[in-house]
Symmetry: C2
C-alpha cells in the first residue's frame, strides 16, 4: 500500500467548486421537498460539510440558497426548449415537451411547491425567475413558428397554452403522474393546434401560420 | 330649521357596520393598487376614520385587512359563477364569463398583483383562497355539464381551461383591456369547445358530453 491510498481522497475544493457542490446538494433537496421541509442542516448534511461552511458561501441562508437553486433550475428548464430548427414544427414541439415533462418529473415536489405559490421563500425575485422562463418559452415557440412580429391574439394564444401546460403539469403530479408522460405530451400538442385553430378564425396571422403548421406534419 | 337638521347626520355605527365599512374602503383601495401601494393610513382616510380605529378592528394591520378584503372579493367572484340551469350550456358559460370579466375589469390592479404572485401579503392563506375560487369554478362547470363523476382527462381539461382564462385575463389587463370583453368572452368559449373536442377523441365521457354541448346551441 502506498501512503496516498491510506489517506482519504480529499482535496480542497476551489471556491467555485464548493459553491457548485452546495448548490447541487440544495437543488437535490428542493426538487423533492417543499421549501419548508428543507433546512440548512439538511443542505450541510447532503453536501457533507458543516453548517457554518454553508453560511460562509450563502450568508443569506435558506432564502439565498433557494433562489440560487431556482436560478440554476430555471436555466436547466430553458435548455429543455432548445430544439434544432429542422423537421416538422409539431415534432419539434413534441420533443421540447418530452424534455419539459422529464424535468417536471425529476423536480416534482419542488415544481409543485413553487408554482402553487404561497411558500415562505416566494418573493418578487422568485416570481420574476419563473416569469422569465415562461417568457423564454413563448419567445422560443414564436421563433420556431417563424413569427417575427406576433399580433395580440397570437401572443395571447401561445401564452395561454403555456399556462395550460403548467396547470396540466401540476395536476399530473397531483394525480400520481397519470396519464403517461407520452400521452400527456401528445394531448398537449393536440390542444396547441386546437387553440391556434380557434384563434385562426379571428386572426389572419394565426390563420396563415396554421397552414404551415399542419402542412408539414 | 329643526334642531336635528343642524346636527350632522351622524350616528354611531354598530361593530358589524363599522367592520363592513372599513372592509369596503380596503377593497376599493386593494382593487386598484398593488398591496404594496396601500397603507393603513390610506384605509383610514378612505373610510374617514382614525388609524387607531382601523387597528382596533383589524389588529393584524394591513395583512389582516388584505386577507379579509380578499375573502370578500373571492365570495363576490364565486357569485359570478351563479347561473340558472336553463338554456343552452354555452350561453350559460358566456353569461358567467361576462360577469367574471366585469369583475376582472373592476378589480384590475389588485387582480393582477394577486395572480402574478410575489407580493408581500401573499401567504399560504391567500393562495388557499384563490385556489378555492378555482375549485369552485371547476365544480360549477362540471355540475352544469351534468357530470357527477368526472374522469381524469375531463377534470384536467376543465381546470386547464380555467387557468388559461386566468392567463387571458392577466394579459388582457396588461394589454389595456384589448380585445373588447365581448370578443374575449366569445373567444374563450370557443377555446373551451376546442379543448373539449381534443379530449373527446381520447375520452368517451368527454365525447358523450360534447354531443350535448354542441347539440343545444
Amino acid at each position: 500500500m502506498t501512503p496516498s491510498a491510506a489517506t482519504p481522497a480529499y482535496r480542497r475544493l476551489s471556491v467555485e467548486e464548493r459553491r457548485s457542490q452546495l448548490l447541487e446538494a440544495a437543488l437535490g433537496l428542493f426538487a423533492h421537498r417543499t421549501p419548508e421541509e428543507v433546512s440548512l442542516d439538511d443542505v450541510a448534511e447532503a453536501a457533507g460539510v458543516s453548517r457554518p461552511l454553508v453560511y460562509r458561501y450563502f450568508p443569506g441562508g435558506k432564502q439565498q440558497l433557494y433562489e440560487a437553486a431556482l436560478r440554476s433550475a430555471a436555466e436547466e428548464l430553458e435548455q429543455c426548449f432548445d430544439e434544432p430548427r429542422e423537421g416538422p414544427l409539431l415534432t419539434r414541439l413534441s420533443r421540447a415537451l418530452d424534455r419539459y415533462l422529464t424535468f417536471v418529473d425529476q423536480h416534482d415536489t419542488g415544481f409543485s411547491a413553487l408554482l402553487q405559490g404561497g411558500s415562505v421563500v416566494e418573493t418578487s425575485r422568485t416570481t420574476a425567475i419563473v416569469d422569465g422562463v415562461r417568457r423564454a418559452a413563448a419567445r422560443r415557440i414564436l421563433s420556431h413558428l417563424g413569427v417575427a412580429d406576433p399580433g395580440r391574439l397570437l401572443r395571447m394564444t401561445v401564452r395561454m397554452w403555456i399556462t395550460a401546460v403548467e396547470a396540466a403539469s401540476l395536476i399530473w403530479l397531483d394525480d400520481g403522474k397519470e396519464p403517461s408522460a407520452d400521452e400527456l405530451r401528445d394531448w398537449l400538442v393536440e390542444q396547441f393546434v386546437a387553440v391556434l385553430s380557434v384563434t385562426a378564425s379571428r386572426d389572419p396571422q394565426t390563420s396563415a401560420l396554421l397552414g404551415t403548421l399542419t402542412a408539414d406534419d
